[in-house]
Amino acid sequence: MAGSTDKTVHDIFQSMEYGPAATSSAVTAQAWLDHHSRSLGLFIDGKFVRPADRQSRSLADSKGGNVCSTVCAAQDDVSQCASSAVKGHKAWGDLSCYQRAKVLLRSASVLGQHDLCVSELCELCEASCSPSSLVRLLQYYSSWAQLRDTLVANWTPLGVVAVIASDDCSLYSLMLKVLPALAMGNSVIVVPGRTSAPPALLLAQLLMGAGLPAGALNVLTGSDMSLGASVAQNASISSVTYSGNKQDGVSLCKATAGMGVPVSVSPNIGARCPFIIFESADIDSAVDAVLEAAFKKRREVHWVLCVQESVLDSVVARLRHRMAGMKCVALHSDGDRGLVDSAVQGAQQQGATLVQSCAAPPSGAQYPPTVLCGAAPSSPFVVNPPPGPLLPLMTFRSNTEAVALGNHSPHGQAASIWTEDLTLALEAAKSLSVGSVWVNSHSVSDPCLPVSGHKDSGTCTDGGQEGLYQFLRPSSSSCPPLPRSSPVFMDYSKFGTAASPAIIPDDSDPASAPKVYLQFVGGKPCKSVSGCSVAVQSPGGGSVLAYCPDGGRKDVRNAVEAAVKVQPGWMKKSPSARAQSLYALAKGLEAKRRDLAASINAQTGLSMDEADEEVELSIARLSDWAAYCDKVQGGTPPLPQCGSALSLPEALGVVGIVLPDNTPLLSMVTLLGAAVGNGNAVVMVPGQKYPLPALAFIQVLQSSDLPAGLVNIITGSRDQLTVALATHSVIKAIWYWGSAEGCQYLQYSCTSPLKTLRLSCQKEDGGKDWAQSHPALLEETWRSGVQWKSVWIPTA
């Protein structure tokens, strides 16, 4: 305390400083930690357990003092935990919706009772999270628990869900996954990161105290991401979902590839987000928000300030005025200081000017808030944002340029836009490719809004009703599309490189020569770029029925290029216009029904009647999708805060589809219609066994009014084309029917940028029955073609 108490009243009267920040004593949290002897066990089966002979991991506070240590769970603990979770799922799932809702609601009041302990513990562990936001989560999801069977009928919980977080993930993001999973009747195994571990353990204890059955919520702590993978490996886990930084998310995806468990990722830490100030903004309030957002000690995202040229001077003048006297921000380590110093030096060498609250101290793990004026998208500190309180500032000329600048980033997490012009705000909000748009505000969140990270910022939707579906499956689907398996050893670089057998001229009878088909790229039937073909066998095998193009990387490239040109325009069309196009497509199919039936008959060996029925079902399915187009349309969810919010469904972009073999026409139009109806473009790879009906469908596409390039069909070796789809960064999602190896390959390789994967391991006996039309099955397919954006417009 020396140096602070010797300040006399007169000194302070002159300097008018605030005085030392009141350090919270955290008495309650310390007492809770002491009660656990400062060493927290695992939370399994409703109680803390401390298995002997485990390594431990210690957690220090910001000043380096010991907070507590956590156990590093071993394999035995994982299996014990998993079997407890299976029992927990049974007990929890057997309760009625009302009973589950009651437990969650009671948890909210238990949390309210112990909010001091929770907030102190969060502060100690630097996993800051306000108890009131947790209470809001509990209340929101308790109402969903109550209404599950009413509002999401025909869906059942998955079973045991593993929620995995990285070390820097906030407690709020973690609970945004845990609570909806619980509310839907799953049991949950939480694998928190280092900082969120103690609060997560405390919350588990509190929820248990509110009446959660033992095993419904377990917490396993470990030393790094490898624990997440070994939890995922356990056969009783039905689904894995991850929240945290991108890097750990990628290593989790790679480690779990081939386990036959779906992994969804919300990399909400470390994304680059634009903060756009238009000339029509309340500049003072905008600058105020910049300071609040950009110079926090714990920043989850890297903001980039984009200012309209005409108001640059006034923004910079206000920044300079407001930043004067701001204190240095603590960095995580001395190493970070080195990174900050070199970034600032590099920036200055490129002519950037600094707006700094004070001169940087010569050394030490702290740095003053700094704005780097004169940044450009190519500046190294924009491309690879260093840690610390640095804020790049770029300028733009027009509204369109602002959006272009905001979108030109691999991330699509969030954006803050400032303008008093409502039309401009809504236009910008719609054009920005991000999950959350905050108009005249920043960093606000509420569980009632569905948000999907766009581009590299996520593969699933969290929040709102839409966020519940990652923890549900249609009641009518008998088995999971991806059966549990063990990863096989494979050389990922060799996958899909086997050459197709060459076709050589033979001297068969020209009359019965196999027909030669063309594929469909950019609205034109064409040969493959390589010029090679593959042979298609007749149903019984033995004879060559036809030749179709042997497509590869270049064909996929051409198709994606064509798709990207037309997809934005297609997405902008009104849903009813898209519906009319799909109706027209159905009609076109009806006109060619005899051709298609004949093609199915020749390809699959089904009788003409059966083939005819498949065509009939396909026509009906396309009409289903046409009708769906203007039905799922987001809305304006009610918020606890004052203002309005919009939740908008958006197309993913370009979707790659590797089609199943069975019922080739019906499965294709089912997936095609769901993707295109939502505003996506598709690159489809027909099943290798029965590609001909899809190629026969090209004539229907050609006579339709779908823009050329929206639907592309490429034939050839499935593995080779899967690799081509996986290695094209523009493709945002891949829907795959194929081998277990292919699934493993995709899970392993679609991580940079992240792709949303919908994987099905194709079985010999046919697998999914495409003729089924349960509402939940259709809904599930439809939803996989959508991502969600939320727009906040707070008002007074």
């Binding site: 300040k7 008018m16 005085g19 309340d282 500049i283 905008a286 105020d288 005025h321």
Partner: protein
């Protein structure tokens, strides 16, 4: 002490560009109110700073020379001497910033202060206070008379009719004339924000008042239904900052009306410190218009020194 604000030409284009986002301002106000306030000796020092910025005010129909006299002597010795000595501030000249009275009482106040050998300024409200609904000529005359009686600070009220109907030029001209009538006396312009409708109007009126040469802009008369609120203050001090960044002239800010507790005075100081910086934390650029506030601050200082909560009768009344 910096030079007085000479005013500028009326820049209507800049005024038309003013934009204020109400919810963002409200959020900012909430944030400032939610901040942790200084404790211990920091609190004592801040409270004394608040005292030094008070315009100790009496504006009542029943004001007479006797209660004005009491007020003046309290202004000279606002905090009990033994309490000041305990924090070693007894010899630092802690007084309030000024006393503020009606024009007819200016002579009484000047006399009392002179008799007490104090150079404390006397401020007078003028120009048809509080409504401003009297002819311009009488309002100007009122200013001149108050100045002649010895008021060195004049609190004028703007003509709300002009502000509400957007006649910024007419309002500018009126304030210009008041400024001339004030002569060397400093002019504080009361915007009566409770009657201006929107934050945008408050911002615009603030800019016009400063362009016309106000030394201070002041929130309200204390006689409207809505007085000094934090959100409206944020809008006004941002206008002050805007004017400073454009012209380099520092204009003062005076919230008045409804400020009663020591806690509130701390929030006001924090608000100024956050939005404008330490430069504004002095009587030259910041005033608190208040009457009962001083008693509460004195009690808090008593508590800081003795650890006890004082009864009101333990501290000298004003």
């Amino acid at each position: 002490m910096s030079a007085r604000n000479p005013g500028t030409k009326l820049d209507l284009e800049r005024i038309s560009k003013v934009r204020v986002n109400t919810q963002a301002v409200l959020k900012r106000a909430q944030h400032i109110q939610g901040q942790k306030m200084p404790k211990n000796q920091w609190q004592a020092a801040w409270l004394l700073k608040a005292v030094a910025c008070i315009d100790l005010t009496t504006l009542a129909g029943d004001d007479t020379p006797s209660n004005v006299h009491r007020l003046c002597l309290k202004a000279i010795q606002p905090v009990r001497c033994d309490l000041l000595r305990a924090v070693d501030m007894h010899d630092k000249g802690v007084t309030t910033a000024a006393v503020c009275v009606y024009p007819s009482r200016v002579a009484d106040a000047v006399k009392s202060l002179k008799a007490a050998n104090s150079s404390l300024p006397v401020a007078s409200v003028a120009t048809g206070f509080p409504a401003g609904q009297t002819p311009l000529e009488t309002r100007l005359q009122e200013v001149r008379l108050a100045v002649a009686d010895g008021a060195t600070e004049i609190d004028i009220v703007i003509n709300r009719t002009l502000a509400l109907s957007g006649q910024w030029e007419a309002m500018y001209d009126e304030i210009r004339q008041f400024r001339q009538a004030c002569g060397d006396s400093h002019m504080k312009t009361i915007l009566a924000i409770g009657e201006l409708g929107t934050f945008t109007n408050v911002y615009k009126a603030s800019l016009v008042a400063m362009m016309a040469g106000s030394d201070f802009i002041k929130t309200s008369t204390g006689k409207e239904s809505v007085n000094a609120t934090y959100p409206v203050a944020i809008v006004m001090v941002r206008a002050i900052r805007d004017y400073f960044l454009c012209t380099g002239h520092k204009v003062g800010f005076k919230p008045a009306g409804g400020i009663r507790t020591a806690q509130e005075s701390l929030v006001w100081l924090a608000l100024i410190k956050e939005e404008l910086g330490n430069d504004w934390l002095c009587p030259v650029l910041f005033r608190l218009g208040a009457s009962s506030l001083l008693a509460d601050i004195e009690r808090q200082i008593y508590h800081h020194v003795t650890g006890q909560y004082a009864a009101y009768h333990e501290l000298p009344m004003a």
